[in-house]
Symmetry: C2
């Protein structure tokens, strides 16, 4: 997820057979040879092949964290099913903007394909029908056969609300319907069956494996996104989901704000607190030191540390970054990949990173001429 | 300037002799052992030693580029004089905020130490006395002797206006006095002599080498900062600058906006144009592809490429970054260090970098949980 160290532009030649590798970039190409667990992407006639429902999810998320974690989390699910060595990634080409927008709306006379329940006319938090499905994304996986790329797998992510925000009148106050984990799971599975059956009706999707993954959206004011909690690999031709595999992934924000707050692991939480105390003591005017921590199967699987500071001088940023390099190695939990970004009002100032296997952090101070 | 790859926290023990290396961080420490041409910085009692005139330059610069390039450029000048192996960096401790603010103002009855000329009462662009000195910065260089750090050198940068912006009445329109290179040089040298003589009056600065460097500020609306054009190394005790060494450094913005626009090197300019065309063709909705290029002795010595895009999805950012890694290697000039940042309205999305000696770009996509 972190470091992309790639090389050499893989040219697949032309799918029409008229052109091979040319500088004008005709035919189908790939973004690059993946050498560290990343997919190559599909380029056609020199252009990146964008999603047919491009941008819909941006408008569906008030919380940017839900957007990013949904998309990169879905890619992680895909990697479990479609190996990055054998498959090439393509943005979803079968669900169009129109289709996705209709599916994400409520079912109604004018929108018979809506996957969210009909409006029952009620406005009570527990009596109304909430919107369960908030966002969805299709990812396509291709295999090279000769000079052609053939669709060989599809992954669909369904983002399900844990809280559905609604208004009782237009521009009125915002109310919340809380949705239990059991309900999210039940409704997610129902929607997954409908999605699978509908996709099978498209000739191109009839005979490819389709993976469907369920994601629980975080609250709008959350400083972390939601997480995937289940996925199902459905063999070519199947129109009903037969079984679900569960994903045990949780996100936490450090520092925890009260003693009762949830933490992924109390050792990690206090390691972060020590780190925070140390660097706040070292460097005056840090206005924020927080972290997103992700746990997979109860083990820390990644951490993003965000440090906000007022900008006083470039030499301070250089010295602070040097110090962070020591302090992070000394105090932050080992084993998991960690990113640290130092930001001011003018944007990112410096950046440190350590891969899961590495001991030391590399650092970069952003400069300007 | 780019990669900071440092290790091990150098502990100098306590300068007061009461404490050695402790976790509470008493005594004097260093930010880290420099292993790639960066200075270590001074930590006292666990705290970073900030400049005595901290923050003055931030308020003196309407153009953030002048601020960053002044400070990191000054550090580059210092490195020519005070080796990063032998000296430790300390933010300026001898010129206070008050002193610097008074020196940066006009000379007047109430401000006898002002280094800018008296107000002659005239308002014409060529008849008035412009403000020559816009910003100044002190950097201290220490040597370890036994368990102590001793001041062993000072560098002072003087930022000189190429355009002095002024108003004829408060909150009125802004007018400009353009200052020729010859005048900048002459007035800069005059101010340098005054600064040197004044610094020698401080007992601590009497017998250390003092380097003074002259910087030409860029226009307020410039997309690049100014550059240093001369520096002078003044031996311990000297109160007058004897000679100046010139620095041949120029900054340019690519793409050049018209055929008559200045360029550092026409091959580099067209290489950048090709790169820009290629990636704009590849990826829809890039709203900006620009670069800052710095030339030292007419050779490209560094480039910062800034790419602005609308955010559609994390997978697009990943694919785009993979593609950039290929395209940058193929099209951008080799030999010089290059940074590439991809930004959206939500901040930095990904980042690529190549050191001067390296062939390939490393890349990092910023993720979120």
């Amino acid at each position: 997820m972190c470091g992309l160290f790639l090389s050499a532009c893989g040219n697949l030649g032309s799918s029409s057979g008229t052109s091979t590798s040319t500088t004008s970039g005709k035919g189908t190409q790939l973004t690059g040879e993946a050498s560290s667990g990343e997919y190559q992407g599909v380029i056609k006639n020199g252009k990146y092949v964008t999603s047919k429902s491009r941008g819909v999810n941006v408008s569906q998320n008030d919380n940017q964290y839900n957007l990013k974690s949904f998309e990169s989390g879905l890619l992680d699910v895909s990697k479990k099913v479609f190996s990055t060595n054998k498959y090439v990634f393509q943005e979803g080409q079968y669900l169009s903007t129109n289709t996705v927008q209709n599916w994400l709306n409520r079912k109604s006379k004018s929108n018979p394909t809506g996957l969210n329940p009909v409006n029952n006319g009620k406005l009570g938090a527990t009596t109304r029908n909430p919107m369960y499905l908030q966002q969805m994304e299709e990812q396509d996986f291709m295999k090279e056969s000769g000079k052609k790329l053939t669709l060989s797998g599809v992954t669909v992510g369904l983002g399900l609300n844990s809280i559905d925000y609604y208004e009782k009148k237009s521009y009125g106050a915002t109310y919340e319907t809380h949705i239990s984990n059991a309900t999210i799971k039940r409704e997610g599975a129902k929607i997954a069956n409908q999605v699978l059956a509908r996709m099978r009706k498209k000739p191109a999707l009839k005979n490819v494996p389709i993976t469907i993954a369920l994601y629980k959206q975080a609250a709008t004011d959350s400083l972390i996104g939601g997480t995937f909690f289940a996925y199902s690999v459905n063999k070519a031709g199947t129109t009903k989901v037969s079984s679900w595999k569960s994903v045990n992934q949780k996100n936490y924000v450090y520092p925890t704000t009260s003693s009762s707050a949830k933490t992924g692991n109390s050792n990690d939480a206090s390691a972060f607190d020590n780190f925070k105390t140390q660097i706040e003591n070292f460097f005056p005017n840090l206005s924020g030191v927080t972290a997103q921590a992700q746990y997979t199967d109860k083990q820390l699987s990644g951490m993003n540390v965000n440090i906000t500071t007022q900008f006083y001088s470039q030499t301070e940023i250089i010295s602070f970054t040097q110090y962070l390099q020591q302090a992070a190695q000394k105090y932050l939990p080992s084993g998991a990949p960690i990113d640290i970004t130092v930001k001011s009002a003018d944007g990112i100032q410096s950046f440190l990173s350590r891969d899961s296997g590495a001991k030391k952090f590399t650092a970069h101070v952003f400069n300007s001429y």
